[in-house]
């Protein structure tokens, strides 16, 4: 505000410098007076104001929707959470039978959900990152686009199809491997117990889950790998690094936090997956580490809701919705953790500074031109939305 108008000859409608840090006062209207941080410095036009209102309204509507869903979950589940599970006739029969309280009911479900999601992540993430690397750094440029499309297609396969495929193909396919693991590595807690004869194991469920989260992790990681400043890569190569060393030294450090958030997005999908797990896994309401047995697989929250919702009466349904609320809280916690990890381990600030440095190199330098070329395609750090504040 204190700066003088840029030029007296400027037309009145000149609209400021957008997102640069300079503020240009035109008519003395205080900035951010209408709730927007950046549009207030210029004379606002009706279209601008309407558009600002619309987009703010849209953002606000998200808060309303989520508040509605949260309110719905809480109101619906309170009767079941607060009920006396020992004396309630309804809660003592059917899916909720033999539980001391809501918490003893939900605890094994939470364990099962976290366990199977973790298994899926362990199996899926390395492969997903491998694919992303293959597409971004190994595959010939022309082929890469097609390959990316293929993997995206995997994301478009509906989960019901994955469920049916899991029953028909994956279950019998994995059965010999499961029997082998059980016979030879049965001492290991995960592989212990009576081996399944039907293939409806947690292992099969986790494999299908891993396939389902692959495209999510891959497509985001791929984008981030592609955004590695070319100068970093070329610097590494110029120093005689092999391709893998170049990736280890310049791509991974740059992409680390992005890959972490991609993985956590995949985890979110895995936590909420319903139909595929419900169709494939043969569950029990227990804490179990076993993944190769028929009936000693821990149940997940979402599959438990889908399996028992239809038969349940009102109070049992409320208990199931209560478990849904817990799942909601878990995914909230996962997101919080993701946020913390990303801000803590993020080289974001450093990376941005590095980019600035590049931009300040003389433009005649060919590699700077390349880097700028890259930068102009992706000027804003991918991680910015994750809470790294703009300078």
């Amino acid at each position: 505000m204190s700066e003088p108008p840029a030029s007296p000859s400027e037309p009145q409608g000149y609209n400021g410098a957008g997102q640069t840090t300079r503020t240009i006062a035109t008519n003395g209207r205080p900035g951010a007076s209408n709730g927007s941080a950046r549009s207030g410095r210029a004379k606002s036009r009706p279209a601008d104001r309407i558009f600002l209102g619309l987009s703010t309204g849209a953002a606000a509507s998200i808060m309303v929707i989520l508040a509605g869903v949260a309110l719905f979950l809480i109101v619906q589940s309170i009767p079941a959470i607060s009920a006396d599970w020992h004396t309630s006739a309804s809660l003592n029969s059917g899916p909720t039978a033999n539980q001391a309280s809501f918490w003893t009911y939900v605890a094994p479900l939470v364990w099962g959900t976290v366990f199977v999601s973790a298994l899926a992540l362990i199996m899926g993430t390395p492969v997903a990152i491998g694919i992303a690397l293959f597409i971004s750094h190994y595959a010939p440029r022309r082929v890469a686009g097609v390959l990316g499309y293929l993997v995206d297609l995997l994301a478009a396969v509906p989960s019901i199809v994955f469920g049916l495929w899991g029953i028909l193909v994956i279950r019998p396919f994995l059965l010999p491997l499961e029997t082998w693991l059980n016979h030879n590595l049965g001492w290991f807690p995960l592989f212990s117990g009576q081996a399944s004869a039907t293939g409806s194991t947690l292992f099969a469920g986790a494999v299908v889950l891993a396939v389902m989260i692959l495209p999510i992790i891959t497509s985001i990681s791929r984008e981030i790998f592609l955004q590695t400043p070319r100068l970093h890569e070329e610097a590494a190569l110029a120093l005689g690094a092999t391709k893998w060393e170049m990736i280890k030294l310049s791509v991974f450090p740059y992409a680390r936090s992005g890959v972490v958030s991609a993985t956590l997005l995949g985890l979110g999908r895995a936590l909420g997956e319903t139909m595929a797990i419900a169709l494939i896994v043969s569950p029990s309401l227990i804490f179990s580490l076993k993944i190769l047995t028929d009936g000693e697989n821990s149940q997940t929250v979402a599959a438990n809701i889908a399996l028992n919702f239809p038969i349940s009466d009102t109070l049992q349904r409320q208990a199931l919705i209560g478990t849904g609320l817990i799942l909601f809280v878990i995914s909230l916690a996962v997101n919080l953790v993701a946020r913390v990890i990303v801000t803590r381990t993020s080289p974001g600030a450093k990376g941005r500074k590095a980019k600035r440095d590049i931009a300040q190199l003389p433009p005649s330098d060919p590699s700077t031109v390349l880097a700028l070329d890259d930068a102009s395609r992706s000027p804003v750090d991918f991680l910015e939305r994750d809470g790294v504040s703009k300078s």
Binding site: A197, T198, S282, L307, N308, I311, D313
Partner: protein, 392 residues
């Protein structure tokens, strides 16, 4: 010649003038009454011989218009589909939506909240549901009407074995993991002449809550209370067995596995091998499922134990009482639940006409033919028609 017809005509003669005085304007109700009677009449002629085409006056049915929204039990879903097409073949102005994905619990919950005109359920209303039905439907509450009779089949997959005899004690032991191999002496004793392999038994059960499971566990605890100590439940109570989603999941897993045994509504088992089950707890008679067997079992074991609602036809099935020759030991019964007083007279008219059609020998024959169910005995159908008359 046909006592029920006389009964109906009698009732009609009594009721009709009353209706005229009470609801003079409600010609529609009388029309429905006449229709129900007509169906009852037509049904009388049919039960034994090949079912004759329904003599229902087409005018009455075709004058009906509207939509019935319903849902619930998936056990009776195929029968509902058959009834719907048979009914709407004449009542062309009527659309009936039956949501089988809701399950019994979902059906009753939606019906209690007023979303459904009627609900299909595998268990009659529980006491607390009876109370909430009084808020939904008014003082008369809701009534359970038996509509669908079938049986729980024990299916198995054992290479080389096509016939298997089992008694309730062995079934209880197999499904509680006390018998774990096929050549167990208990099974061998029941199957003289059959070579049973030393294969491991893999029991396959339901992972989702189900009326079939409730029926099966009731059978086990009724007949073998000392062996089967698990609760009667819609959710399978024993952990550590292969649990599959839906009857279809059980059937396909039994078919795909080796040494597997499972239970499912007999109408959904397809070509799977079915075990013959011992009649009673002693003796040497083993019965495979048959429609007449299920009907006989119903006659043997079912007694009407009405709730407080007038006209309610909730049944208690005492499985231990099933002893008639040829009766199938594990029958499965499913109900439709409706309000005794509808909020909307038009919906009442539609629901009465539709369920009135189901509760006839013709309706039962349609389901038997197209959904593999067993026809309900004539006595209970007559009771149901009487109950329907109370519905407003």
């Amino acid at each position: 010649m046909c006592p029920f017809a006389n009964l109906f005509l009698g009732v009609r003669a009594h009721v009709k003038p009353e209706r005229y005085t009470v609801k003079l304007k409600n010609v529609a109700a009388v029309g429905t009454l006449a229709l129900v009677t007509a169906i009852a009449l037509s049904s009388c002629s049919s039960p034994s011989s090949t079912p004759a085409p329904s003599k229902t006056p087409a005018v009455d049915l075709s004058s009906l218009t509207g939509t019935l929204t319903s849902g619930g039990s998936s056990a009776q879903a195929n029968a509902q589909a058959a009834w719907t097409s048979a009914f709407t073949a004449q009542a062309t102005g009527v659309t009936i939506n039956y949501d089988k994905s809701q399950g019994s619990g979902g059906g009753v919950t939606n019906w209690l909240s007023g979303s459904y005109d009627f609900a299909g359920t595998d268990s009659s209303l529980k006491p607390d549901q009876v109370t909430s039905a009084e808020t939904t439907c008014g003082a008369g509450g809701g009534i359970d009407l038996p509509v669908y009779l079938s049986g729980v089949a024990i299916i198995f997959n054992l290479p080389g074995v096509t016939k298997l005899n089992l008694d309730s004690a062995t079934i209880a032991k197999i499904f509680s993991k006390k018998i774990t191999t096929w050549n167990d002496p208990a099974i061998v004793a029941l199957n003289s002449g059959v070579t049973l392999p030393a294969e491991k038994i893999t029991p396959v059960v339901r992972s989702d809550g189900s009326g079939t499971t409730a029926n099966f566990t009731t059978y086990l605890s009724d007949t073998q209370p000392s062996l089967w100590t698990y609760p009667v439940s819609t959710a399978w109570p024993v952990t550590g067995e292969s649990a599959q989603q839906g009857g279809s999941g059980v059937v396909s897993t039994v078919a795909a596995g080796k040494g597997t045994i499972g239970y499912a509504d007999q109408s959904s088992v397809g070509t799977a091998a079915k075990a013959a089950i011992q009649l009673g707890t002693t003796g040497t008679t083993f019965v495979e499922y048959s429609a007449t067997g299920a009907t006989k079992a119903f006659v043997d074991a079912a007694t009407t134990t009405p709730t407080s609602a007038k006209g309610d036809l909730s049944q208690t099935i005492a499985y231990a009482k099933i002893t008639s020759s040829g009766a199938y030991p594990i029958p499965l019964l499913s109900y439709d639940v409706i309000c005794s007083t509808f909020k909307d007279a038009a919906q009442a008219k539609l629901a009465k006409a539709y369920i009135g059609f189901i509760e006839t020998a013709t309706g039962q024959a349609v389901a038997a033919k197209n959904a593999g169910s067993a026809p309900l005995p004539a006595a209970i159908l007559a009771d149901a028609q009487t109950s329907l008359k109370l519905v407003k």
